[in-house]
């Protein structure tokens, strides 16, 4: 059993900054030390051509390429830069009409991922209506235990009762069919700051227990996932001195790098630099901002495709986060094979972005996106189920899509208004059953504390409802 090792950062790594890292990789110099990045040595090609799926010799990267591996300075784990986020697998209805994970599909995807070098699998007891751990356990247990790293979480949102926490912890071993967990996270910290942390983990002795488990090697690496504002994050960094987080999972993508609203979430630039300063390896969640960056506004698509017609829209977002050296793994909730393959093409024979490209994304492109009135929903479904049956993320996703695609009817004077109006209303009914639409929100506010993005959900639902009502009455 591997015991926890203290982090000894190689000097090369400790002092490297983004620019130097890029410069080095750009020159094709192999990085020395713990974070030797296999395959990061970019050939001398222009950035515009490297994202193409097929190499110049006509061979598919999927067949010839090598997965980018990042070394965890804490214990030497060679972790694939692409991590599998196990919260979005397809569900199907069982005989009783209940949603169940489509296990066959999970197996296929996970087998394919493993075969292409993905070795980090991130799950949680609450994902997929509580079925994710088990499904992942079934798929992974068909492979040698040392061929992958399991990450799961302490999702004790339901209650601060120690008993709930113990059950979640013990179930993880059963569900995942293992006797040790590689990466264990205190799930979704941030809201409530140090006080919330105290109630959830300190007062009930849960953290003490987990620290002991870390010593015993049952938990190889103990970390946390963070959603929240800057003071809360600073609190977590203070706690680092006390507990030593082996890794931290943050929301990072090119939009949130500089454009986080500061109230609900913090600029990823700040988070990254704080963690980098302390030498804490970073796992990235929401690299696509819940899919929003894979389906941005038309004008954004245009700019990106102009730069590289071959590269998928999503690949830009993945390359962005992968270009930062402190990043250990980037989680992507890949639902379908094409998502997996697209990401594999990005992270096999990985080519980081140039400094100019990084700025292009985190400033130029993000500035355009900031001008669209979308709801910053990631479709994480933490707010669900709504007690009144409302499909909260579904409503936001539908709204965002229509805004981003420029299909949103805005005024009667608009050209094509009648056509846009019909398509908006018909697609709304298609996406959301009538009884689950925004007009049924009573404003009970039970969803608000559950939203990791701190979206004022009832207010946003009312805004959309009022908009739909205007469309229906033709008074826009």
């Amino acid at each position: 059993m591997v015991s926890r090792s203290t982090i000894k950062l190689d000097n090369t790594m400790k002092n490297i900054n983004r620019r130097e890292f890029l410069k080095k990789t750009g020159e094709g110099a192999a990085l020395a030390g713990a974070v030797a990045v296999a395959g990061a040595c970019a050939p001398k090609k222009t950035a515009e051509t490297v994202a193409a799926a097929v190499n110049s010799d006509g061979k598919d990267v999927l067949e010839t390429g090598k997965m980018e591996l990042r070394t965890n300075p804490g214990n030497g784990d060679k972790v694939s830069l692409l991590g599998y986020g196990c919260m979005r697998f397809t569900m199907k209805k069982d005989a009783n009409g209940k949603d169940v994970v489509d296990q066959e599909n999970v197996n296929t995807l996970i087998d394919y991922a493993l075969a292409h070098g993905v070795n980090y699998f991130d799950t949680a007891p609450v994902y997929l209506q509580g079925q994710s751990e088990k499904a992942v356990g079934i798929a992974l247990s068909r492979h040698p235990r040392n061929s992958y790293y399991i990450a799961t979480k302490m999702s004790n949102f339901q209650s601060n009762d120690r008993k709930v926490a113990m059950q979640l912890y013990n179930d993880a071993f059963k569900n995942l069919q293992t006797d040790y967990l590689d990466y264990y996270l205190l799930h979704s910290l941030g809201r409530g700051g140090a006080a919330g942390f105290k109630a959830r983990f300190e007062d009930n002795g849960v953290l003490d227990f987990l620290l002991k488990e870390r010593e015993k090697g049952k938990i190889r690496q103990l970390g946390l996932s963070f959603h929240g504002d800057q003071p809360s994050f600073d609190d977590m960094m203070v706690l680092h001195d006390k507990y030593h987080w082996d890794f931290v999972q943050i929301q990072m993508n090119y939009y949130d790098w500089k454009h986080a609203d500061g109230r609900r979430n913090v600029n990823a630039e700040y988070l990254y630099n704080e963690l980098d300063k302390r030498g804490i390896p970073i796992v990235i969640m929401e690299p696509l901002q819940g899919g929003r960056l894979a389906k941005p506004a038309e004008s954004v698509v245009n700019r990106l495709k102009e730069r590289d017609p071959q590269a998928s829209i999503a690949s830009w977002a993945f390359r962005f986060v992968g270009s930062y050296p402190r990043v250990l793994s980037v989680l992507s909730g890949m639902v379908y094979m094409e998502h997996l393959q697209d990401n594999l093409r990005t992270y096999m024979d990985f080519k980081p972005l140039t400094e100019e490209e990084l700025t292009f994304l985190d400033t130029d492109i993000s500035d355009i996106m900031a001008n669209y009135p979308t709801v910053e929903c990631n479709d994480c479904k933490y707010c669900m189920p709504c007690p009144y049956g409302i499909d909260i993320p579904g409503i936001f996703m539908h709204y965002n899509n229509s805004v981003n695609q420029g299909l949103q009817p805005r005024s009667k004077e608009q050209e094509d208004y009648q056509k846009l109006r019909k398509s908006y209303l018909v697609s709304y009914d298609r996406a959301i059953p009538t009884l689950r639409q925004a007009d049924h929100c009573v404003g009970c506010k039970q969803c608000i504390p559950k939203c990791p993005q701190s979206i004022p959900i009832p207010r946003e639902l009312r805004r959309i409802d009022a908009y739909v009502e205007k469309l229906k009455q033709n008074t826009l």
């Binding site: 007891p125 609450v126 949102f157 339901q158 601060n160 109630a199 669900m384 049924h440 009573v442 009970c444």
Partner: protein, 551 residues
Amino acid sequence: MLKKIRVTLATLCLAAITLLFLDFTGTLHHWLGWLAKIQFLPAVLALNLVVIIVLLLVTILFGRIYCSVICPLGVFQDGVANLSKKGKKGKYSYSKEMKWLRYGVWVVFVIALIAGINALVALLAPYSAWGRIVQNLLAPVWQWGNNILASIAEKHESYTFYTKEVWLKSLPTFLVALGTLVAVVILAWKNGRTYCNTICPVGTTLSFFSRFAAFRPVIDASKCKSCHLCEHKCKAACIDIDGGKTIDYSRCVDCFNCIDNCKFGALKYRFAWGTEPNGTPAKANHATLGTVRGGTGAERSGASGGAERSEAFARPEVPSGDSSAPADKTRRAFMVGSALALGGSALSSVKAMAQTEPAEDEPVKIEGEGGFADIVPKIAPKRSVAITPFGSESVKAFYSHCTACQLCVAVCPNNVLRPSKDLKHLMQPEMSFERGYCRPECVKCSEVCPAGAILKITPEEKTQWKVGTAKIAPWLCLVDNGTVEECGNCARHCPTGAIQMVKKDPNDPKSVRIPSVDESKCIGCGACENLCPSRPISAITVDGFQIHHKA
């Protein structure tokens, strides 16, 4: 030739009227709506004198062309008869007029019309019978077909077709429609136009005029070789060759089958004003009451068909009123259940712990994320007065004009209109808000009603008319009974701003706010009832007004 023209026109008419009932978007109505308005009974009920006079003039000039071309149920029967063995081979034969049944039904119908026994009127009226058959039996198939197209369209991101919810709007009406269809098909299969000449009150009314028709098929006795071919081809069983080569013009529907089939040119559709049934001058003797051949068969089938109809009519179960008390309990249980399930949200976790402290060894139920809460379907509340559509002016006016053809039900996009299950108004529509509410911008029903039961209004006028008013059951209101601290969904969606959220305790500045209805502004559209989170019975429900009036 005449027959060909008749068949072509009749087919077009039938198809167009049927489409009117199938087109739930209401767009065809713009072009074809007049076909519903020229139907005889709706015109009578709408007091549409122009249509009535024209129809009667046409009948007195040309006979019962109406029955063979305009009436959808009549044309449908011709179709059925054509498929039958008897129709194909031409094996009909003359039968005597069933006077007692025919005039008996007519008298009953007229009495029902005057006395306001609307269900009986609706049951016998031919156009509305066809409307019900299409709306209840064919429309679901049409809509399923539409939904298949919609799902294909969805895949191609086309918005041409959209899904239409298919639901059984009223079981009694469905059964009546089914019974009518079975009876009519049996009668038409066995003996052609039996229904039209024994039961149909419109047919009987027109027969009073058609017997004097100026133009009619006339047998030239000198050319007639008594081959009986015309008699065998006559679906109305009104040609009597053996009884003096006469035609009973009260029953002849001008289908022209006889004329097209006569090999000797003995039958002509011609001007014959004032002549007797066999074409001889009025004073000559005739023998309409002569030998009766094959009449028994028709009589028998007519009688059995009648029996089936009355059985179908008696069968419908009238559902007992919904009791609100037990439903209330179910709703509470549901609310409590969902409140418990969600009690453990992060912020209220301490409080929730105290409430849901699990027993020592019992495993805690871990809540996963995602999924949907079940939604309990709404149940219609008891309404002291039925709500009739905007534009109907009063409950009485609405029900005395309505022929229960279901055209308004067919076009209602909000699933508000459905046939009444109340025996007095059986099959006539009423409004209810379990699936939607009467939206302020929609006036579709008022545009299609051919019988003057729903008069045409504009959306602007609509929000000024009061068809009912909302009332609140405080014990069901989620804020009032303490389930939630804030709601106001009714007030938020009231199109006239009639609902005010007021402090429950006026002396407490932090009091929760409960809804109150400003009766002077409420129009009874049902937005509040439909969107009220209280299920299955809404905490705010609408009662109709006997007489609608301006707000």
